[in-house]
């Protein structure tokens, strides 16, 4: 089945259907229409898959997807234009440009936690760049997956953009085909499998993976605002099941009590006294993850460190926002990516120590710092490697289409959003145009001392050498 799909898309691409700007714009406009006309269905699917609150569906998936489409529609005409670049004296006279061309037929494998956005977003980039696309939505979000399978053919050109549903066997089948690029969002284990499969065909990959996103909280902050932002970035993002959600907090021993206090108050305001009943919290995606998360807090090492929350409802697959203080560093909570509504707080003596701690772990997709102290901010930006980072807020950077979004190290490779999505699925072809003038015999054998001198000058960009070369020096002996 995967082979057929690949073959059909290759034929469509070869026939040139995806190249014209009008085709690309038409697809993107169709996607905008789809999002506008089917907003209710999309919200319903997200609710079925994740009990995602309508507000979050709108805020984090629907509106961002639409904004991405519109941004691409607006920018596309300039993105597809060749970029003129300077040519050198060495090749005078000549002109050079960089031409963006589509890679060809690309495979996009999406994730379950933002199943709508993480599918549409890369697809937009692939289409804008002129590729044919296969989208493989996550089977762990089945309602959204079937929604794509049903809706996309109604709106976009089905001969060039296809949806393939399924689980491990279907994905494996897809990974055996030859693609011109594979874009994968998910975890590191599968990321390795994707990259190894791609290696067989020398296919370049972009991997958007996870990690433990740290939040350093200094005492020199507007505490109430900071805590609200942290809370909405954690529990307001799919109840912590987001690759850029805060994973853990580091603060000073002296500030921790105030922080915990403020957190408790904000959480109660957001989700009430009985969070399991709040409509504003997503549920855990499935029982496997529910078990994984409840095991994390029931672990004897950490169970007595819970300072807030801890409630769980297996029937509804809901876990309440849970905060822990000073968990041991070797607990699973501190070694695995949490991806859920559990937030450990670690303490240090001096806030600067938090930077060393963050750097002792693998590079995260996002790192956050709350402080007004400029020196600490500079230290953080210069010395903490991460996919992206925010000072005094959480998660927002992914909404800025002018910033590249992607990981580094264990959190992934490649980036997208805005023009970076277009670039992700393009090949930047260098084009050098020369004429027949400017012939420098110094280039050719038989090599002599004189020729070498001129060549040296030419390569070093010497104008005099250029003149000499153009005038035909050295003169060949007859």
């Amino acid at each position: 089945m995967a082979e057929e799909v690949a073959r059909e898309l290759r034929a469509s691409f070869k026939a040139g259907r995806t190249r014209p700007a009008e085709w690309r714009a038409a697809q993107l406009r169709a996607l905008v229409r789809m999002i506008e006309e089917k907003e209710a269905d999309i919200s319903a699917a997200l609710h079925a898959d994740l009990a995602k609150p309508t507000m979050e569906s709108y805020l984090h998936e629907i509106s961002l997807a639409k904004a991405a489409c519109k941004f691409a529609l607006k920018g596309m005409n300039s993105w597809v234009k060749p970029e003129k670049v300077p040519a050198a004296i060495t090749t005078f006279p000549s002109s050079a440009q960089i031409v963006s061309e589509p890679l060809g037929v690309v495979l996009i494998i999406s994730a379950w936690n933002y199943p709508f956005l993480l599918s549409i977003d890369p697809v937009i980039g692939a289409i804008a760049a002129g590729n044919a696309v296969v989208l493989k939505p996550s089977e762990i979000a089945p309602a959204t997956s079937s929604l794509f399978a049903k809706l996309l053919p109604e709106y976009v050109d089905n001969s060039c953009i296809k949806v393939v549903e399924g689980g491990v066997p279907e994905t494996t089948d897809l990974l055996e085909q030859k693609w011109d690029k594979i874009f994968y969002t998910g975890n590191g284990t599968v990321g390795r499998i994707v990259m190894a499969a791609a290696a067989k065909h020398l296919t370049p990959v972009a991997l958007e993976l996870g990690g433990k996103c740290p939040v350093i909280v200094d005492s020199d902050v507007d505490l109430h605002v900071a805590v609200k932002r942290i809370a909405v970035g954690k529990w307001g993002c799919n109840n912590g099941q987001a690759c850029i959600a805060p994973d853990y907090i580091i603060t000073t021993k002296s500030f921790a009590p105030q922080l915990v206090d403020s957190l408790k108050r904000v959480l109660e305001r957001f989700y009430g006294q009985d969070p399991l009943q709040s409509e504003d919290l997503s549920r855990i995606v499935n029982s496997k993850h529910f078990q994984r998360l409840t095991n994390l807090i029931e672990d004897k090492k950490v169970a007595d460190k819970i300072v807030y929350g801890g409630q769980a409802d297996e029937k509804q697959l809901k876990i309440a926002p849970t905060v822990l203080l000073d968990v041991p560093l070797d607990s699973e909570l501190m070694t695995e990516e949490i991806f859920g509504p559990i937030l450990p707080i670690l303490t240090v003596e001096k806030i600067e120590e938090s930077i060393d701690f963050v750097n002792s772990k693998t590079k995260p997709l996002a790192a956050y710092l709350f402080t007004k102290n400029k020196k600490l901010q500079d230290n953080f930006v210069s010395n903490v490697p991460a996919g992206g980072m925010l000072v005094n807020d959480v998660a927002l950077h992914l909404a800025n289409p002018h910033l590249p979004f992607g990981g580094v190290g264990d959190s992934g490779m490649g980036s997208y959003h805005g023009k970076f999505s277009f670039d992700c699925f393009s090949h930047k072809k260098a084009v050098l145009i020369r004429g027949f003038g400017g012939e420098a015999t110094a280039r050719y054998p038989p090599y002599t001392q004189e020729k070498q001198k001129i060549l040296r000058g030419l390569i070093n960009g010497s104008f005099i050498a250029l003149i000499l070369a153009l005038l035909g020096f050295p003169r060949e002996k007859r």
């Binding site: 990259m195 050719y444 040296r456």
Partner: protein, 484 residues
């Protein structure tokens, strides 16, 4: 297995550990340090130029002219260029922020990837090691260079001299064969650049996948050269000069961007062949002006390409192989069968097949049926043909009316696509290849939008719709209206 039955850690473990430690210490981040390394590279190339020429002559019989043009000269210019632009490249770049995030500022900050590994290749053993090395150092990384053992004099030269001119705690040279390369790949790197064949490229990428190490692969391909009717005698001569320069004058055709084969209209072919023959006589009148074939194995491989009698009978010039000196005359073939090895495999040697087509435009269809090459060359004054080539074919790069020279142009990226690889370098792209562009967004605590937070209600949803439409006026009014 060790005597106590425990699994032995892969070799090079302590070297990699040391490099990580030095990198973590922050030494390579310092801009002055980076500049000192680049200056060290320039000094190495300028002071040891003669030694480099000697090593290249030993390994490849490469004439001084070529060695300077393709390896030393272009490299010195490129490194000096990096010295000049480093400050600009390493500086944070401010980017736009949508007003709704106000007050906020957004930047993209380049940071080094960490500890990187560069595999060089035997045919341009200095250039393919030191150009990426200069990029990796400019970007602030610690580096291991693994030169090809097939160019042993150059490998030994690098091993002896890099520690003298560069910071030996941060830049290491590892000599050895494929086993050394495989063992190095057992470790986790922050990036690997591999130049070589697709076969080994696959192995490298598969090993890299285990550690999620990002890779760049600069692979081989059959670089075609389309030769259109050239009206003036002068233009034809210039074209032939450049074609010869890009085949036999570039390591005897053993270069990833050398012209592999030519596509020409049937009627023009004889003219082209005559001109090639006479110019070859002038350029290579005396021996010693063409590099030799690397070794016995490559020599046999190239010889085997002519085993097929259909191929052998298509030879129209040259064809003499001297096993004693491992030299092969410049050889031209006319229309060898398209399914023969010489037309399906990368030649990487001094044999030039010429394939004729009825109309020159047919060459575009021909190219589209083949794997994407590293470079496409075309000699033509026909603007329409140029445009069609750019738009309808795909390749790492396209060069019109010349060949190879694109390698030395720092303002354009150098790299392949499809089977010719992925990842680009040269100039600022070398810096970027070994950097991570980190997105940074800074906000202040002023100005809070209440509708960001739960508990959610329709009023908040309404406001957010305004925000996402960047409908500031209505947002403002709504804020006034709904302010309690």
């Amino acid at each position: 297995m060790g005597s106590d039955g425990e699994e032995r850690a892969p070799e090079f473990g302590s070297m990699v550990g040391e490099l990580r430690e030095v990198y973590e210490s922050g030494r390579t981040r310092d801009m002055e340090w980076r500049r000192s390394q680049l200056r060290g590279l320039v000094r190495l190339l300028e002071e040891k130029e003669e030694d480099i020429f000697d090593a290249l002559r030993e390994d490849l019989g490469k004439p001084r002219g070529e060695a300077f043009r393709d390896e030393v000269g272009v490299l010195v210019k490129s490194v000096k260029d990096k010295l000049q632009n480093l400050g600009k490249w390493a500086a944070p770049e401010k980017v736009e922020t949508p007003l709704v995030a106000f007050p906020a500022s957004a930047f993209v900050v380049p940071e080094p990837l960490g500890v990187v590994l560069i595999f060089s290749c035997w045919n341009l053993p200095i250039g393919l090691a030191l150009e990426p090395l200069s990029g990796a150092l400019a970007a602030g990384n610690a580096v291991v260079v693994k030169p090809s053992e097939l160019a042993p004099s150059t490998a030994a030269f690098l091993a002896a001299n890099i520690p003298k001119y560069l910071d030996s705690k941060v830049v290491k040279v590892v000599e050895g064969g494929p086993e050394a390369g495989e063992t190095l790949m057992e470790h986790r790197w922050d990036k690997v650049l591999f130049t070589g064949s697709g076969r080994v490229g696959r192995i490298i990428m598969t090993k890299a996948a285990k550690h999620l190490t990002p890779v760049a692969l600069e692979l081989g391909s059959k670089c075609p050269c389309i030769v259109d009717w050239l009206d003036s005698q002068r233009d034809s001569q210039v074209a032939v000069n450049r074609i010869i320069g890009a085949k036999w004058s570039t390591c005897a055709g053993q270069a990833c961007i050398a012209i592999d084969y030519i596509l020409v209209e049937e009627e023009f072919a004889p003219i082209l062949i005559e001109l090639l023959k006479s110019t070859l006589k002038t350029f290579f009148a005396k021996p010693g002006h063409m590099a030799r074939v690397l070794n016995e194995r490559q020599f046999q491989r190239l010889g085997a390409l002519l085993d097929d009698p259909r191929v052998a009978s298509s030879v129209v010039h040259g064809g003499y192989f001297d096993p004693k000196t491992l030299s092969i005359e410049p050889t031209i073939l006319l229309n060898p069968p398209l399914d023969s090895d010489i037309m399906t495999e990368e030649i990487f040697g001094p044999l030039l097949p010429i394939i004729t087509v009825k109309k020159i435009e047919d060459s575009i269809r021909f190219l589209k049926s083949k794997p994407k090459p590293l470079a496409i060359y075309a000699f033509t004054t026909n603007e329409k043909l140029k445009r069609r080539i750019i738009e309808e074919t795909s390749s790492g790069s396209v060069t019109f009316n010349d060949a190879i020279v694109q390698y030395g142009l720092d303002s354009i990226p150098f790299g392949g696509v499809g089977h010719s690889g992925f990842g680009q370098y040269h100039g600022k792209y070398s810096f970027e290849m070994f950097s991570h562009k980190k997105a940074v967004l800074k906000r202040s605590f002023l100005i809070e939008f209440m509708f960001r937070y739960p508990p959610w209600d329709d009023g908040k949803l309404g406001m957010l719709r305004h925000v996402f439409r960047f409908d500031y006026v209505n947002l403002f009014l709504a804020l006034l209206g709904l302010r309690r």
